[in-house]
């Protein structure tokens, strides 16, 4: 059971927009910044979003992040088939004094 809760799967058609939620508590998301990773099949994870909404260099504008209270959201717009991957949220948990990941969300682009 992951500390952060994500939907197991989401799907949308190419060109559409999809949102992936990440729910936590005041011990983690509520009092820390959130990041998001993309893991393509058979590959290592890649950082997509840091500090709630900042895109590292090279990450397309189609990927955006936000945070409100104890939840965070990753939005991917103008979906492409190449976006099919697993997406993970992560943050620091003060109670655990450790980082934590969400359980991951599998994105299918229909």
């Amino acid at each position: 059971q992951s500390v952060l809760t994500q939907p197991p799967s989401v799907s949308a058609a190419p060109g559409q927009k999809v949102s992936i939620s990440c729910s936590g508590t005041t011990s983690n998301i509520g009092n820390n910044f959130v990041c998001w990773y993309q893991q393509l099949p058979g590959a290592a994870p890649k950082l997509l979003i840091q500090d709630n909404n900042k895109r590292p260099s090279g990450v397309p504008y189609r990927f955006s992040g936000s945070k409100s209270g104890t939840s965070a959201t990753l939005v991917i717009s103008a979906l492409q088939t190449g976006d099919e991957a697993d997406y993970y949220c992560a943050t620091w948990d003060a109670s655990l004094s450790a980082g934590v990941f969400g359980g991951g969300t599998q994105l299918t682009v229909l």
Partner: protein, 123 residues
């Protein structure tokens, strides 16, 4: 260019020990936290812990505290993850990654990752 190059796949028997390496280049190894993430077959990512090489300070997830040992050799810019008394349930891909804090007070995100080391534990 920053690189994290992990050691190759391993096949071990239950009860054996293993030390995985992660050789880095392209940045000041000693001045950044470096961490380890486990991914069991078909499962999600698990945050194991991080180490600050210059001080050998470690922060372990409670789930892995006492089960693994992280170390680093600044002379060769290499981090290590030691797994002892291996069990079949230790079968997984283990990733090393550089940890940063951004706006946070804690090094909570990983900006650059190794390709992973597959560890298979089987009798």
């Amino acid at each position: 260019e920053m690189q994290l190059v992990q050691s190759g796949a391993e096949v071990k028997k239950p009860g054996e020990s293993l030390k995985i390496s992660c050789k880095t280049s392209g940045y000041d190894f000693g001045s950044y936290w470096i961490g380890w993430v486990r991914q069991m077959p078909g499962k999600g990512l698990e945050w194991m812990g991080i180490i600050y090489p210059d001080y050998s300070e470690t922060k372990y997830s409670p789930s892995f505290q006492g089960q693994v040992t992280m170390s680093a050799d600044t002379s060769i810019s290499t981090a290590y993850l030691q797994l002892s008394s291996l069990k079949a349930s230790d079968t997984a891909i283990y990733y090393c990654a550089r940890a940063l804090d951004g706006y946070s007070s804690e090094p909570y995100f990983f900006d650059s990752w190794g390709r992973g080391t597959l560890v298979t534990v089987s009798s």
